[in-house]
Subunit: 160 residues, 2 copies
DNA sequence: CCAGTGTATGTTATATCATAACAAGTCAAG
DNA sequence: CTTGACTTGTTATGATATAACATACACTGG
């Protein structure tokens, strides 16, 4: 976990497939049920390879014969986040597939303001700095949200 | 900017007053108009000394004869955030007065999940770590959101 | 002074994001 | 084959946020 695949050229079908395979393995190993709806939501997130709103995901589900009410999407998304298969991007009120399921990580998100791509950067050093700052005032950090808005390599070049 | 006043005992009227005075000075210096609505919103945030939702602020405004529609609150809050007099806390969909107006800072927020107090911690080291991680993949960080959810000193003791 | 311009405020309406509560279906263990 | 845990579906509503337009205010140049 030391690069940000979303910003590189890559065989996306392949990368999505491998993430999906790892998620399957993890789910089996932990007794989590990756049901059709949940599986499909994860696939949709992987296909999009970007942060997607719950209602956007819901539209996809509805078009494929799943339920068409918000809780259907929110429940599947909440499950995926809880299981570590997806992340919630607070800044966008949106969700993105985790590209490193199973690997312990404290992700920092890099959000391109032009193309909306979202990449996970190694967040451990960031988290360490945050823990240190918090410890200075006696605060105990349980969960951290680290999100950067800016320009990805491609859009930076285009903008220049 | 090297502590988190929200978690300490302090003369709050005094601290709010001094922040307000600094905001006034800054606004004058920069030609920003700290109008009655905007001023009152900042006062409300300072009085609460915690993150407040836009509609909570709006209720206060409405009770005092200002407009009672959402845009009134959102516009004032957006102005304060833009001017650096307040911060938006993404995690809570809420706003908090900036306790260090005018000082350059990259705040990291410490949010107590029990008492909802919000403090600003020194975020420069965190930001530096984030910039480094982003630079590794060619991403340029323009704005960063760093928010930690956990326990403040007081609630940690109570919980123990 | 006062007309013109830009900014701020107020209001109506609506868009967007999210969850509570309950009903019905699925499936495996006993 | 029934019970219990979980998942999915649906209805309804709550919470957060903004678009669009009208009105009021305040400064500036004539």
């Amino acid at each position: 976990m030391n690069d940000a695949p979303a910003f590189h050229e890559h065989d996306h079908a392949d990368c999505a497939g491998s993430v999906m395979a790892r998620a399957d393995a993890m789910a089996s190993a932990q007794g989590l049920r990756l049901t059709p709806v949940r599986r499909r939501v994860l696939e949709v997130l992987l296909e999009g390879h970007r942060a997607m709103g719950a209602y956007e995901v819901l539209d996809r589900l509805a078009a494929e014969g799943f339920g068409n009410q918000p809780p259907v999407a929110y429940r599947a998304l909440d499950f995926l986040v809880e299981a570590g298969f997806a992340h919630r991007i607070q800044r966008l009120n949106a969700f993105a597939a985790c590209m490193h399921p199973g690997e312990a990580h404290a992700p920092a998100f890099l959000i391109c303001r032009l193309c909306d791509a979202v990449a996970e950067a190694p967040g451990a050093p960031v988290r360490a700095a945050l823990d240190a700052a918090a410890a200075g005032v006696g605060f105990v950090v349980e969960r951290a949200t680290v999100e950067a808005l800016g320009l990805c390599p491609g859009c930076r070049d285009v903008a220049a």
